[in-house]
Amino acid sequence: MPKVKIPRKSTAIDMTAMCDVAFLLLTFFILTTRFRAAEVVQIDIPASTAQIPIPDNDIMMFNIAPDGKMFFGVDKQEVRLKILDKIEERYQLKFNNQQREAFRTLELWGMDVNQLSDFLSKEPNERAMVKQPGLKIDTTGGNQLEALILDARKADFDVHNNTLLRVAIKCDKTTEYKAFDKLIEALQNLKVNKFNLITSAKNSAE
């Protein structure tokens, strides 16, 4: 007599395809994104039809917040350290090794140079909580912004023996033009006449 087979349904689902999808997506995200830098300030950049991609290295970055506060950063860590040397020299400051290490990992910063020492002595998570006041631009006691641009370019020259540093400006949509103009003026006083405005991509048709 033939046996009646009752099909036994397994609760196991074949996960192979799902696994494939998951890792495919993962690969996609790894390749198309880059790590978000610790944001000192939220900046909503304007859109333009410009097509030039942002280069990966040798960037001197300025961020200008909606209230006009300015922040500064360079991408290469060895250049950052050299900048700190120049700051030490210029303002007769002394930074210890721990502070140097903190400055080396600092993506963006904006404050009076004289406050830098205090800021760098703080614990990393404490540092993230500090509301930075923005670079000191006023001309009393020397323009710190101009000095900083000069130092950054010199530091870059020391490291690469070449002036590769490109100026990139990331400015919020609602920032008043005069804040941006102050930066341009400082750059032009130092004969930096070429700079890049970072914008998000948009379609030219609209």
């Binding site: 799902m18 405005l197 914008t199």
Partner: protein, 182 residues
């Protein structure tokens, strides 16, 4: 997790030697995959969508003598606060500022782009080339940065070769600023 190994008793009795199951349980691996995806989505942002726009300012050199451009070939764009844009074109010689014509427009493709293109057409009739238009961008200190970028973008779209960014401190600018109370 969801994988319940329901074993068939009959078959189990027949081969008593342990045959290892050729099927690998991917559940944990899928979990790991999605966990990593979530992490990457949160910790990164797309690197593709930001572009940059290059501006080259003229070298500040008082000894440089460039070619001069007649005023009638220019259009001045005065960027005002609250997304307002004022524009005017002047004849070469002007004595009385009170009757100059200026108008306002917006930053859309129907606004500014049309203004630039109309002016371009007008000059093309006169000079024969589309490159004869020269734009003077005059941002007021309290205007928004986004408007400045908008104008540069329109210049790139309409392929204007000559433009400059200047301070709005000519007599005519002061007159308009006063008249409009900007």
């Amino acid at each position: 997790m969801t994988d319940l190994h329901v074993q068939n008793k009959d078959t189990h009795q027949r081969h008593n030697r342990k045959t290892s199951n050729a099927k690998v349980d991917f559940t944990a691996m899928v979990d790991l995959g999605f966990l990593l995806i979530t992490f990457f989505m949160l910790a990164t942002n797309f690197s593709l969508d930001n572009k940059m726009m290059t501006i080259v300012k003229p070298v500040d050199d008082s000894t440089f003598v460039g070619s001069s451009i007649s005023v009638s070939r220019t259009i001045s764009l005065l960027i005002g606060p609250n997304n307002k844009l004022y524009y005017y074109s002047l004849p070469d010689k002007i004595t009385d500022y009170s009757n100059i014509v200026y108008d306002s427009t917006d930053y859309s493709s129907q606004g500014l782009r049309q203004v630039i293109m109309n002016r371009q057409k007008l000059l093309k009739k006169k000079y024969g080339t589309t490159d004869s238009l020269y734009i003077m961008i005059k941002p007021l200190p309290n205007c928004r940065y986004v408007n400045f970028v908008n104008i540069l973008d329109e210049i790139a779209i309409t392929q204007i070769k000559g433009y400059c960014i200047v301070k709005p401190d000519e007599e005519v600018d002061r007159y308009i600023i006063n008249a409009l109370n900007l």
